[in-house]
């Protein structure tokens, strides 16, 4: 029963944050709504269920790390961090504006941000370094890193994937936000990744495949991944839909990096408000 309530609470958060993402990008008239909507369910489960972090002590030495490698999806993490108390919610109004805190892509100077993204393929290498350091210091913290499927076209993703398996980093958990769409179209049309589970398995990783909008599956996968102790890194392949929750943004590459206009904004908010969290997945 407690578990069921937890899942519903998380789902409600995700619904609220979908609205938050749209509002933030609309107000800025700039930013990336599509990838923020695809990642948001996972971010909710991480920040409100799984991650050992302390908003009052964001640089806490023994915290779990979260590396958002797909830094363009910053609206998603900003609304989550604000709600989690890392910085005031009023900062969200300053997203992408001069003299304000919230940069277009995350910077380390923002409380709660563990990686300054914006250039794809780098976060997983960075997370690999953190995981090595945590193990060297015998810390029990985990390093989570979220990458995109388009991002996995970057060769550096595979450099780090090879190395993390070689170095037996079972404290590293990568989440592939497999939202199927990138800047100029469908990932399968631009550079098809083929069977990503087989690819990472062949690189020596544990793989877990889930529906990345099903909160029950997300929570289960995070629990399983964080308990892995078999000297292998783990990847959660999170099947998602870019723009999830707003019909005209779903799988629409035009909303990779474009803000909604007045009419689109209204429609998007209406659609999100109508989401039935009990049925949402």
């Amino acid at each position: 029963m407690a578990r069921k309530n937890l899942i519903l609470e998380l789902k409600q958060k995700a619904k609220d944050f979908r609205k938050g993402v749209i509002e933030v990008v609309y107000k800025a008239q700039s930013g990336h709504p599509g990838g923020s909507l695809s990642e948001i369910d996972m971010l909710v489960a991480l920040y409100f269920y799984k991650l050992r972090v302390d908003a009052k002590n964001p640089k806490w030495d023994n915290r779990d790390r979260f590396v958002l490698s797909k830094g363009h999806a910053s609206p998603g993490i900003y609304v989550v961090l604000a709600d989690r108390g890392f910085f005031p919610k009023s900062e969200l109004d300053g997203f992408r504006k001069i003299n304000r805190m919230l940069q277009g892509h995350p910077e380390l100077s923002t409380p709660g941000i563990d990686f300054a993204g914006g250039s794809l393929g780098q976060g997983i290498c960075f997370a690999h370094g953190i995981a090595l350091a945590c193990r060297l210091d015998k810390k029990d913290c985990k390093v989570y890193c979220m990458i995109g499927d388009g991002e996995a076209q970057e060769g550096a993703v595979w450099e780090a994937s090879m190395a993390a398996a070689f170095h037996k980093l079972d404290n590293l958990i990568v989440i592939l936000d497999k939202n199927q769409v990138q800047e100029t179209g469908r990932t399968k049309d631009i550079m098809d990744l083929g069977n990503v589970a087989l690819k990472w398995k062949a690189f020596g990783w544990n793989t877990i495949e889930i529906n990345g909008h099903d909160m029950g599956q997300i929570v289960k996968a995070l629990d399983k991944a964080s308990k892995m102790r078999n000297k292998k890194p783990t990847i959660i392949i999170s099947d998602t839909i870019k723009g999830k929750g707003v019909s005209f943004m779903e799988l629409n590459y035009r909303f990779h990096g474009k803000a909604p206009n007045d009419e689109e904004y209204k429609r998007a908010i209406e659609e999100i408000e109508k989401i039935d969290i009990k049925k949402f997945k």
Binding site: A116, Q122, C125, A133, E159, A163
Partner: protein, 311 residues
């Protein structure tokens, strides 16, 4: 005179530093035998991380180690570090992370390996990155001091070392300080600002010129960024005749750094000696220096030419 390569100074100091500072770690992309980082790796395998032949991951990994309280030294050939340039730009220099990057086998002095391994653009590239300190030792002794100085310095750096053995001109009491140039030879008619291997060519050129009754200052500019502006201006004022000497493209390196300072503060006669915006070829380092105008005789000739323009 005893000789050693600056990369040997790097490797030796890294090992010593590893003994006294447990936070020091090394990231290597399968060139530890050449960069001499392998000494550290053999002694401290648990703090020596290889990424395989993968420079982007080498930089990303070093950056991740640095935000976790480690002091990572990452080294590869200067030219291959450039493959990860945008990683260095977007993770290391953008966030002012405490990553110590070392590029070995710099310049055409790399010799027989030819164009592919002779980095002549690295200083220009790293100098253009905000927050980066760019260093190039003149001998193995200075390289050792640099490695220790960098452990105390918090921030990103690029240290450029050479393959070939060079005379050791610094004693154990030499004090290296980031940002400070050093006068190695007093003069009056001109000044040669040199760095790395070219310090030795400049010193030899000064001896040749002495026979022609020309006395030149020789200054070792081992911190190319931030350059010792005070020293550059002071010696320019004393001589009104400035020569720079570097094993690097004449575009963007030491010559440019000196020209930038003098252009804004004390414009005067100036000649940049370096690789003339072209790739070199395979050959012995001294043969290449002669052919491409980097040897002592070429420097002496250029000094005489520019001095003749003095009124």
């Amino acid at each position: 005179m005893e000789k050693a390569a600056t990369r040997e100074g790097y490797g030796k100091a890294l090992l010593e530093l590893g003994r006294i500072n447990k936070d020091v770690v090394v990231v290597d992309a399968d060139l530890g035998d050449s960069t001499k980082a392998e000494h550290f790796g053999k002694q401290f395998p648990e703090r020596f991380f290889t990424t395989g032949i993968a420079e982007q991951n080498m930089i990303g990994t070093a950056a991740g180690l640095s935000v976790s309280g480690k002091i990572p030294y990452a080294s590869t050939f200067a030219v291959f570090s450039e493959r990860a340039f945008e990683f260095t730009r977007n993770i290391v220099s953008r966030n002012k992370l405490n990553v110590k990057l070392t590029g070995s086998h710099a310049g055409i002095a790399t010799g027989e390996d030819g164009k592919s391994a002779q980095a002549i653009e690295d200083v220009a590239a790293y100098r253009a990155l905000p927050n980066m300190v760019v260093l190039q030792p003149a001998d193995a002794a200075e390289a050792e001091k640099m490695v220790f100085a960098l452990a105390e310095y918090k921030g990103p750096s690029y240290m450029r070392v050479h393959r070939i053995a060079m005379p050791i001109i610094h004693g154990s009491n030499y004090k290296f300080e980031i940002g400070r140039g050093e006068i190695l030879r007093q003069g009056k008619d001109a000044v040669i600002f040199a760095s790395g291997t070219m310090v030795h060519e400049a010193l030899k050129a000064a001896t040749i010129l002495e026979n022609e009754k020309i006395n030149v200052y020789v200054a070792n500019i081992s911190t190319i960024k931030p350059i010792d502006e005070k020293l550059v201006i002071e010696l320019a004022k004393k001589t009104n005749c400035v020569i720079t000497a570097e094993d690097h493209n004449v575009i963007g390196g030491l010559g440019s750094a000196v020209a930038e300072v003098l252009g804004e503060n004390y414009p005067c006669l100036m000649k940049r000696i370096g690789v003339k915006d072209a790739y070199a070829e395979s050959g012995k380092p001294d043969e290449l220096y002669r052919k491409y105008g980097l040897d002592a005789e070429s420097i002496a000739e250029e000094v005489m030419k520019i001095i003749s323009k003095k009124k």
